[in-house]
Structure formats: structure tokens, C-alpha cells
Symmetry: C2
Subunit: 725 residues, 2 copies
């Protein structure tokens, strides 16, 4: 359930060309019959069928969408039905075996068992490149299934428009209303070889085009339109002949897709594209060079690092045009526009990681967020946005954390005053998630807006971020205002229980409180045990409130060791046994900072022990190597930081809490041309504790390191030992 | 059934702001229940209800679409249901009385009985301007019904997107699949006064946006999207307070609509817009100044002239951007882009009229057709196109006639070689309407493509037009080729019956021929009696084939005087008793040239008598003043020419056949600054015959006049008499 995909993508590329391993009949007896959650990224390793290769996939999300433009090569009698996975001849899908499947960054290949077609995929940023090696056949087909979707509810397809421009070029678009409510993706599809014949079948219930009666629209008629269309293109192929397809995407127009196609891949050399994309991956992945304790650790590390660079994705044409949130076409001015902002997840460690190894891209992402704000009819920064849509998923307004963290780290090549205005607008929207109450009575009542404790805590932290941005902008009245708001977390702390708890609008605590239950207790995707610890900007104060350092350290011990009853895990897609240690949930985000909190109790060794244990048990070099959704790279970013020995507990602070490095040595190659060396002494699987830290030749007498110390370049040496210090 | 509308429009404007007089429940017992044909233009004089005012209407078509963005002002309890016409309180509609209704070019007003709201409408080219005068109310509403449509089949709405930008500005778009299969219209709606509250109701069967659950989307939430939406905006109003709305359209984007709004109406002065638009109308209508025999004739003449300037419509934003046939955004380069080309109708007299009084616009229309061709995946000129779509209505490829006529008349400010290429591409498309057979065996077999005789005859004429264009381009091989094709009409003439008749692909005549039946006999919207006479480019040859001048003259007499059995009229929407004289159908197009054919038989007086009789009986100054659909201005253009005394029997020839002027005198004010005077002597209702014609002081000894003679300026004097000459 990591929800990653094995297909081909360039770093941060708009195209994620990857197989769909199942596509059951959408409706059985009038009921929707597909496990949407399971197929968030289209691929499940346990499946043995492939239904085709589509061009857009989320990486690691817990909600689904995309899956655009499924292509499937077949031979024999044309069958436009996908069919049912269990029945081999029921449709165009094929069985496959993992032994015939191969994936590396920017490349994927598989042998389709029935047709013996070898499928190979690579991609540039905006263009997917398919190569299908056929056996000799005079009935070879390339199916373009425009009905196939991820999040495939009935009627997700809003409209489809296809033009067969000539005997080897097809353009068009598809408009969907799925998780993104109003979404259009344009394409240009270029074949390496002229098709001999083409056609389509329309599955619409109503067809208005009476005047098309004079044509046989279904065969060799070059304009297709409707809600539900499957097209095919026929070829004669020789033994081992490759039919190649370049498939470009655009959010703007088919004209834009054609520009992208011509600019990025103006030739038919599949291996050249593969090589170029892999060079890009090597450049990105070598931003951190490690020497690991074991070969397996190295694979896990670089797999994680790879997963941090699959989204946000570039979301503009080669000429800088993109579709904005207002559905108008905009031109990015001095930046590259990005989309897919899963911010409740990624503010924690992914964007901080970008500030370290992708500062240029992170600034562009911030500029993309500001453009989103400027185009937003709500005057808000993104909450969870993708493809010119705000889907409002999860809580908080964590764009502000991304901005604050960039400022704290000197990554400020954007208009800070503009950013501060956007943050203020976002945090004062009176119809968003109980903010009206929050601003009026300093907390959100549960009877007004559910998950009120989670919201109040996250707003408090976000408001602290805004105060930091105000500080950067030298707007001290705003700073004061938001520092005050940042203290709102105290209003939901119940001294008598020791937990953050939901209040009602009357001001009294909501009765029947269960601190282990994740449902109905004022929290979202977490319980009071976990969520009460989310005060990253006031950790000392939180610890004081909760009884002081010793009591807090014991509280963390309890969290990691208590037995959690099954009833608290059932009905939680995002919380499964795989990702749980006691009552700590590593498989989901709200607790990701918790293992590092021992650092504030004087028991740093417990953090060191715990993070090493989590790295060893919650990440693996297997199909189920993640203990929960990768969540657009957040789970992987946690690993990357932790493996290097430090973690951004409070994004916006410019500080990293020191954990325990898993690597032997590492070099962080910075964009400023400098490098930061991470070295260990006496590193081993048992030596998880740190006895001494030397930063640039001087002992570091604290348990955190500053971002500014890293980007100055230099080296840090961790002396490791097998005994807690 | 003229299918004109009484609302406000600027000459050739994109906005036609006009009332919808009925909008019954779309479905009764699961069955579609609206008379689409009857409501082609949204308005029927016999109705006494108004459902609102929408912004787009065809003028005079026999098929329907459009009806975008219906606005209705109401007071009292909000009711978003349109309701049923017969039940007063069943919905937001209102009764009205014709005595409280007033219409003139560019202005329409009506009193809504129930609410006592006075509605006034005017329009610039791209912006509709509403003014609603209320009685005092604290429950005044402006309803924006985005579900209301003309051609209102279930599911015509594909998608709707609305943003409430601030308390008085709303933007959005609606995408429909009606007659135009893939159509989007964008809008910007500016209120003169801030609304106090707004909201919408969504009528979709499925709503995907689970994540919107945290909002009450239905009230004061500024983004609305779905297939079926009705929005409302609430106001408090004082007695006699006017709430005004400027409503701009664009085919490009909401940004484009806003540009149009700001450029065309940057103020709130309703009367100023009305005045400016009426000045434009006066400028256009005074291109022909007449002195009529009776005041009523004058009204009829200028009503007809008005109807010739409602379409084609300007179809680009003020900055020249427009959505092309390929759905990409294009910039018009050196021309204004037009749409709504009902060419099977309008090639006959409307475009020839444009060559006379709107030569500049006609060239832009030709450039628009060429752009259509360049954007067409079929490489074809428009057949019947509107709003970035080809709807393939009716037959022939009469764009070529429009081009040939412009060339013949020296109106050649376009690339003739490009035009010739476009004509060749259009006329050689092998999947269009039997053209493959036509090119191979010189006629279209009825068993291959129905209406084969009509198609063969019209293709023959069109091919003659292409030969004329080739002549203009000095491409003499093409000229020869198409002159040969232009003779194909002979292949379907059956000497034994004297009629054009359908052949089968075997080469034999299709059996059971009925020359009076309009169905199944090889013709479309006409029978063999009428359609056999469609050889406008080879009239002498046709007459020879049909037995010579005398026999042909008698044949025409029979046509005009025979009794047509009711069975031949039933089931013909476009052919009704109102428009029939004997077996001649003036209410539909295929015969419009026929009254003038006597001129080729030596019996010119019969033409003179007949056209005067048609003008007197088939046109009137009443709600039912047209004898059939105005057909985008063709019916009216016939009248305008005929009233002046001449008619373009063969567009592309540069000649006008002389009929009998109805006017006393007329001045045609030409764009070249010259004017052409039409004068009569002894003109009266009885004196329908011409005894002598003096052109610029010299007797004209022929029964036609050349376009070149008119545009040189000067005067023609018709001496009238009551006796046939």
C-alpha cells in the first residue's frame, strides 16, 4: 500500500508512464466495484495482469485520480473491452510475470504473455515514449482507451475530443471530474509508423450528432468526440518490428502538447531518451552520495531519494504556458510552474529536503503556490492542489510552512511581501474549516467543525510560520498578531487528562473522550495520543504543560510500547498494523516528528535508538518496502533525512534535530557549489548511539544543527557507540 | 415559424439577448417533451410567458442550439425551478402581455406581470446589457440558470464552471454538446450593485466532491462547478431601482470575456449603449435607402434588411483571439473571424447581398471560412458551421459559391490560390457524402448515399464555382477539370420523365419514382419538380434538355399552379402550406431562383408578375410575416434583392436577373463611396411589368444587370406598366 508506481518518469516530470495492473468492470449489478484506494497509483505487485500503460500517476498518495490515456498493444481479433483480470481472453488485457518485468528510473519494460509483445517505456518531462516489439502479425493494434481512469467512478469522464491529424499523428484532450473537479489534459500522440486503419467505439448512452449519420464515424473518420471513447490504430508488423509512440501532454492545448513533443523528443531514438532521462536521474540522485553500511541500505536510500523527486510535477508547457486555477491560460514569469501539492504530508520533511538539495525548484514551487493564490477565487494558497484544482484534502494551510521554511533557510528568491499577503489571506478565510471561530474564540469547537483539535493545533503551528514570514518581511505588527495566534494550541489542552481534547462551542470539553480512537474525537488520521504532541513550534512549552521532561519522556515510551487494540486500527485506510510501533504510527504523517521529541527531554539516546529502529523495520527493499502510503514523497523524505542523521522537527525554524545516521558516510552536494560531508566513526548496526559530534573540527555541544551550518559546507563527524549516552 | 427573435443584438454581434417564451419541463414521464423545432430561436409570439433572457440565439434557422446563460429577475420567495408555462406560480417564469412588450433594433423591453419588473435589454457586439427596474423589495433575485438551453435534450450540458470573483462580478463558462458537438462559451457578468448574498443549486445525479463536505457549497461559496447548475444573486431594492447587468461572452476564456466587457462597455449608461448600437444599425440599414410604395412595404423591407445582418456573427474577442475548429486558440490576422455559416441557405442570396452592401465583411467571412479549412481535420471548408464546430447540416460545399461570387464581383482581398486549394480539398474528400462515387462515376448513386440527386446537382453547380475560382487564379488545368465535373448534372436527367431522378450504383434508375414526394426520391427538402430545376450555372442547357423555352415556360406555369396533395406536405417541418404556391415552395430554399427562370424562356413578364406576387403574399408586417424559417437571413435577402428589382440566380456569375422592383426608388450606398440609384416610373401595385429599362441614360436591352455596372455607381430606371410586354 505504498501507492508508488514502477513506470517511467523524468525527475519532477509531468508524465508518469506506468502500467495499470487491474481494471475490473466498473459496475457489477449497478454497484461500483473497484478498489479505488488500492489502485491509487494504478499498480499492485500482487496482480498478474496488465491492462495497459497510462501517462499520469500520483506517487504514494492516499487518494486517487489521474490515469490518463491508457495505451495497450494487442494482436489478433480486435477487442476494445478491457475484460476481467481473472479471465484471460475476456478483453485486451494481458497476463505478465514479474520475472519478465524490469524497472529502473526512467525506464520500465514487461513482456505481455498472450501477445508476446515486449513493452518498453521511457519519458522526458512532458512526453511519454513507448516502444512495442511485436511478433509478425497483420492484425497488430494499438488501443487508446480514453475511458480508462484511476478514481474510476461512473461519469468521471466529462468530455473527450480526438483528431486524427494524419496517418501517424493524433491529438486531443480529455476532461474529467474526479478528485480534481474541473480538469482537462491535452495530448499529442505520434506513431513511428503510419497506421493502415483506425477507428473508435463510443459507449455514450446518448449521442446527439444526428447529422453524423451520413458518415460511418466509427472507422477512418478523423474527428471523435464524446464522453466515453476507445480508439484503435491498426498495423501490419514484421517479426521483431518495433512500433513506437511519443505521447506528449499539456494542460493548455493540443497545440501546446505538439510543442512539447517537438521540443523534447524531436527524433525516434528510444535509447537516447532513456539515456538522457537516466542522466537527469543520476544528476538528481547524486546530490546526496552515500556510503552505506550494507548494499541493501543503499538501495533503500536511493529508492527513497527517487521517490522524493516524482512530485510536485512540472505543470507548464515548454513555452511556459499553463492552465491556472481560474482555468485561464497563464505564462510563468521567471519560474517553472509546478502542481500536485500534498501539503499536509509534504510540509514536514519533503519541502525541507528540497530546501537542502533542490532550493531552486523549491522556490519555483513557492512561486507556483503564490500564482495559485493569485488565481484563487478564495484568495488562498494551496491546501491540496493538483491540475488547476484545489481538492481541499486534509487540513491546515501548510503552504505557509513551506514558505517559512524557505525564508528560515535563506532560500528567498521570491517576493516575501507578496507571500506574506497570501499567507494572511489564506489564514483569514472565514468559510474555511472553522477559521471564523478560530479567529474569534481562539479554538475551533468540534460541534462547529469536526477534527477541530487537529485543525486548531495545525493552524497554531501554521500561524507561527506566518509570524516567521512576517519577521522576514519586517512586518512586526503581523508578527505579533500571528505569534499570539500561534499560542492557540494551549486552549485545547486538558490538564486533567493530559491530552489535547475537543471543546464544544459552549466552551466545555466534549464528553466521552477516548484518546485512542481516531474517529469522532476531534482528530483526523490520528488519535489524541499522537496528535496531542503536534506543537512543533513550542515543544518546550508543550513538554512543560504535559508535566515536564521526565514525564514526557515516559509518555513517549508508553506511546511506542503500548498494545493497541485492533478496534482502533479497523476502518483506517491510512493506519495499518504494518506501520505501527505500539501506538506510534509511522505509516502516516501526524507523528513523523515524534521519534525526535526525546531530544527535548534530555534523553537524546532514545531518539537515536528509535529512529534507527524505525529505519530498519519500516523501510525495506521489497515490493512492500513502505509501511504506508509514501504520501507524495513525505515518507521517503523522512527516511532520507533520518539516514543522514538529522530531521526538520519544526519546519520554519532553520534547525534540524539530530537523530542517528544510518549511512556510514554521505556527501550532500549543494546547489551553491559547496558540499557537506557526513561522516561516522564506529558505525555499525549495533552502534546506534552518538557519543560525540564534531562539526568542522569542533565538538558540537547541542543536539541540533542549523541549516546555515550545512549550506556553508564542511563536515560533521558522528562518533557512534553501542551504549546510550 | 420564421424562427427569428425579437431581442437585442448589434449588427453581426456575438450576443443575441432575447427572451425565452417557454421552457417546459424537459422530461415528462421520462420522455423528452419540448418542441425543439418550434423554439429554434427561443421565442414564439403565441406564448404569454417569459422564462428569462438568454444571450445566444440563431436567427431563422431550421435547427436549434445555443440559448446560453439565461437570466431572470424575480422577487419574493426564491424559486429556482423554471416551472410550467400553464401554471403561474410553478416557477420563476412570468406571464407577460404583448402590449407591454417593445422591440426595435438593439433594444427590447417587456413588463413581467407577476413581479412588475420592467426588463430592458440592449447589446454591443460581445456584451449583453440588462436593466431591470424593480418595485421595492428586500427579496429581489437575479437568477442565472445555467441549465436552460435551446435544443434542450437531456445531458446537453457537459460542464459548467462559475467563479464569484467579488460581490458584483461573476465569471465562468458552460460547455455543451448539442448541435455543435464540442462547444464552450465563456462569460463575465458584472452587476451594477453588490449582491448581499448568493448561492446555487446543483441538479447533478452524481457529485464527486467529497472533500467539499466541509463547506456549505450552496451559499456564498465562490466556486461552483458541475453539469447542471442554477445560481442566484440576492438584493434589497428600492422602489423603481434599476439593477443592471453587463454580460460579456467569449469563445476563448473568462479572461477574454472580461476584456470584451471592459473594452465594449466600460460604464453603466444603458441608454448610451442602446444609442450606440442603434447608430450602428442605422449605418448598416441606410446602406440601402428606399422610397416605398406604402409605409408597410418600408417596414417589411427594413425588417428583411435587419434580418440579413444578424448572422454570421463576429466570433472573436476584442483582441482578435478566437477558438478555432481544432479547439485551439487562434489569432485572426488581418480579418475579423465570423461563425454561423448556414451555407446551403445563404450562398443563394445572402452572401451575394453582402458582396453588394457588405463587401468588407464578406471578405472577412471568406477568410473565416479559409481559417476553418486550415483548422479542419477533414481539410474542408465549412458546410454548416457554428461555434468552432462543423455540424454537417444539409448538403453541397457551398463555401465555394461564396468564394466564386466574391471573385466574380471583384471582391478579392483574400488569397485566391489558398482559396482554390481549400476548394479542391473540400471537393475531393472521399468520405464526404458520396463524393468518392461522384468523382469516380460522375454521379452519386442513391443506394450509396441518400438525397443523391440533390447532392449531384449541387456538387455540379459548386464545381462550376470552383472552375470560376480556378479561372480567377489562372489555374487552367483546374478550371478544365472542374468545368467537366460541373456537367455531372446531365447524368441524372431522365429524358423519358423529364425530371432529374436518382440512379442506383448499377447505373439504372431507381424504380417507383414519384416526382412530388420529398422523401426517398433522391432529394432533400424538395421534390423532383423543384430540384430538377437546380442547374443555375447551365440554365440554357437545362432548358434545352427539358424541351426548349416554351415547354419550360409551361413547366414553370404548372409548378406555380398545380394542386399539391396534403400528403406531400405532411412531415415536412421546412415545407408548410404558408410558403407554398402550387408546387413551388418559397418557404424553403431549393427553389428560390425558380421565379426568375422565366427570364431564360423569353417570358420575362412571368418572372415580373411572379416575384411581385411573392413579395406581396409571402412577406408581411406581422408576427407571422415570414412564410418559413428565415434561414439565417436567406429568405430576407431574397426579398431585399427582389424588392430592388434584381436577383442573383447564379452566384459566381456576377450577373443579376432582372425581376420587378417593389420599391419606388432606392439608393444603394456602396462601400467604395459611390451610390447606385434605382428609380421607377409609373410604379404601382398593378404596374408590375417592365416596359423599358434605362441604365445610366441608355436603354438596357437585356434582362440582367452586371454587378460591375452597379458598383460603378449610377442609376437604373425601370419603366413600369400594367401589361405584360
Amino acid at each position: 500500500m505504498g501507492h508508488t508506481f514502477p513506470g517511467a518518469a523524468a525527475p519532477f516530470g509531468m508524465v508518469q508512464l506506468s502500467p495499470e495492473t487491474n481494471q475490473q468492470e466498473m459496475f457489477v449489478d449497478g454497484q461500483y466495484n473497484r478498489d479505488t484506494y488500492k489502485y491509487c497509483s494504478g499498480y499492485q505487485y500482487s496482480d498478474n495482469t496488465i491492462f495497459g500503460f497510462s501517462h499520469t500517476h500520483f506517487s504514494g498518495t492516499g487518494h486517487s485520480d489521474l490515469g490518463d490515456f491508457l495505451i495497450m498493444p494487442t494482436t489478433g481479433v480486435l477487442n476494445l473491452e478491457p475484460g476481467v483480470a481473472d479471465e484471460t481472453a475476456s478483453g485486451y488485457h494481458s497476463t505478465f510475470s514479474h520475472k519478465n518485468e524490469y524497472a529502473e528510473p526512467g525506464y520500465y519494460s514487461v513482456l505481455l504473455n498472450e501477445s508476446k509483445i515486449k513493452a518498453e517505456l521511457t519519458a522526458s518531462e512532458r512526453v511519454g515514449f513507448h516502444s512495442y516489439t511485436f511478433s509478425k502479425s497483420d492484425t497488430a493494434h494499438i488501443i487508446l482507451d480514453l475511458m480508462s481512469n484511476i478514481y474510476n467512478y461512473d461519469d468521471k469522464n466529462v468530455w473527450t475530443f480526438v483528431r486524427v491529424e494524419n496517418d501517424s499523428l493524433v491529438t486531443g484532450y480529455r476532461q474529467t471530474s474526479g478528485w480534481a473537479r474541473t480538469r482537462t489534459v491535452y495530448f499529442a500522440m505520434q506513431f513511428s509508423k503510419a497506421f493502415s486503419k483506425y477507428g473508435h467505439k463510443k459507449y455514450d448512452k446518448v449521442d446527439y450528432n444526428g447529422f453524423y449519420r451520413r458518415f460511418n464515424e466509427t472507422e477512418n473518420f478523423p474527428e471523435m468526440a464524446g464522453k466515453n471513447i476507445r480508439a484503435y490504430f491498426d498495423f501490419d508488423v514484421e517479426e521483431n518490428e518495433k512500433v513506437k509512440i511519443k505521447f506528449a501532454l499539456s494542460s493548455v492545448s493540443t497545440e501546446g502538447a505538439l510543442k512539447n513533443l517537438d521540443a523534447e523528443i524531436p527524433h525516434w531514438d528510444f535509447n537516447k531518451v532513456k539515456k538522457q532521462t537516466q542522466e537527469k536521474w543520476n544528476r538528481e540522485l547524486s546530490k546526496i552520495e552515500i556510503v552505506s553500511q550494507s548494499p541493501e541500505d543503499k538501495v533503500i536510500f536511493y529508492t527513497a531519494l527517487y521517490h522524493t523527486m516524482l512530485s510536485p510535477i512540472i505543470y507548464e508547457d515548454v513555452d511556459g504556458n499553463y492552465r491556472g486555477l481560474d482555468q485561464n491560460i497563464h505564462q510563468s514569469d521567471g519560474f517553472i510552474n509546478y502542481t500536485i501539492f500534498s501539503l499536509w504530508d509534504t510540509f514536514r520533511a519533503l519541502h525541507p529536503l528540497f530546501n537542502l538539495i533542490q532550493p531552486g525548484r523549491n522556490v519555483d514551487m513557492i512561486k507556483s503556490m503564490l500564482a495559485h493564490h493569485d488565481q484563487s477565487v478564495h484568495n488562498m494558497l494551496p491546501i491540496w492542489s493538483h491540475y488547476s484544482n484545489e481538492n481541499w484534502c486534509m487540513i491546515g494551510y501548510h503552504s505557509v510552512s513551506v514558505i517559512a521554511d524557505a525564508i528560515a533557510k535563506g532560500n528567498t528568491n521570491f517576493d516575501i511581501n507578496h507571500a506574506l499577503d497570501a499567507c494572511k489571506n489564506t489564514s483569514t478565510n472565514i468559510y474555511f474549516d472553522g477559521l471564523d471561530y478560530y479567529m474569534c474564540i481562539d479554538f475551533i469547537p468540534e460541534d462547529v467543525s469536526s477534527n477541530s483539535v487537529s485543525k486548531t493545533l495545525e493552524f497554531s503551528y501554521d500561524d507561527w510560520c506566518i509570524s516567521r514570514i512576517a519577521n522576514g518581511a519586517k512586518k512586526y505588527d503581523v508578527l505579533t498578531e500571528y505569534e499570539k495566534r500561534s499560542q492557540n494550541f494551549v486552549n485545547l489542552f486538558n490538564e486533567s487528562s493530559g491530552f489535547m481534547q475537543p471543546k464544544l462551542s459552549t466552551g466545555s470539553w466534549k464528553p466521552n473522550f477516548d484518546p485512542l480512537n481516531t474517529h469522532g474525537q476531534g482528530f483526523i488520521e490520528g488519535n489524541a495520543w499522537t496528535y496531542s504532541l503536534f506543537v512543533p513550534h513550542e515543544i518546550d512549552k508543550m513538554i512543560e504543560m504535559m508535566g515536564g521532561k521526565n514525564q514526557f519522556s515516559e509518555r513517549l515510551d508508553s506511546l511506542f510500547t503500548m498494545q493497541l487494540d485492533d478496534k482502533y486500527i479497523a476502518h483506517n485506510e491510512d493506519i495499518t498494523r504494518d506501520g505501527i510501533i505500539g501506538n506510534y504510527v509511522h505509516g502516516n504523517e501526524p507523528g513523523h516528528h515524534i521519534p525526535y521529541l526525546y531530544n527535548w527531554t534530555g534523553h537524546d539516546w532514545k531518539t537515536q535508538e528509535r529512529v534507527r529502529m524505525i529505519m530498519e523495520t519500516m523501510y525495506g527493499n521489497k515490493a512492500d518496502g513502505l509501511c504506508g502510503n509514501d504520501d507524495a514523497g513525505q515518507m521517503s523524505a523522512w527516511y532520507v533525512f533520518s539516514a543522514l542523521g538529522f530531521y526538520p522537527v519544526c519546519p520554519g525554524s532553520g534547525k534540524y534535530a539530530i537523530g542517528s545516521p544510518l549511512v556510514k558516510n554521505a556527501t550532500v552536494n549543494l546547489e551553491n557549489g559547496k558540499s557537506f560531508q557526513i561522516k561516522t566513526k564506529n558505525q555499525s548496526q549495533e552502534n546506534v548511539y552518538i557519543s560525540k559530534i564534531i562539526l568542522n573540527g569542533k565538538e558540537l555541544k547541542r543536539n541540533y544543527i542549523l541549516h546555515s551550518e550545512i549550506v556553508r559546507g564542511g563536515e560533521i563527524i558522528f562518533n557512534m557507540t553501542n551504549k546510550p549516552i
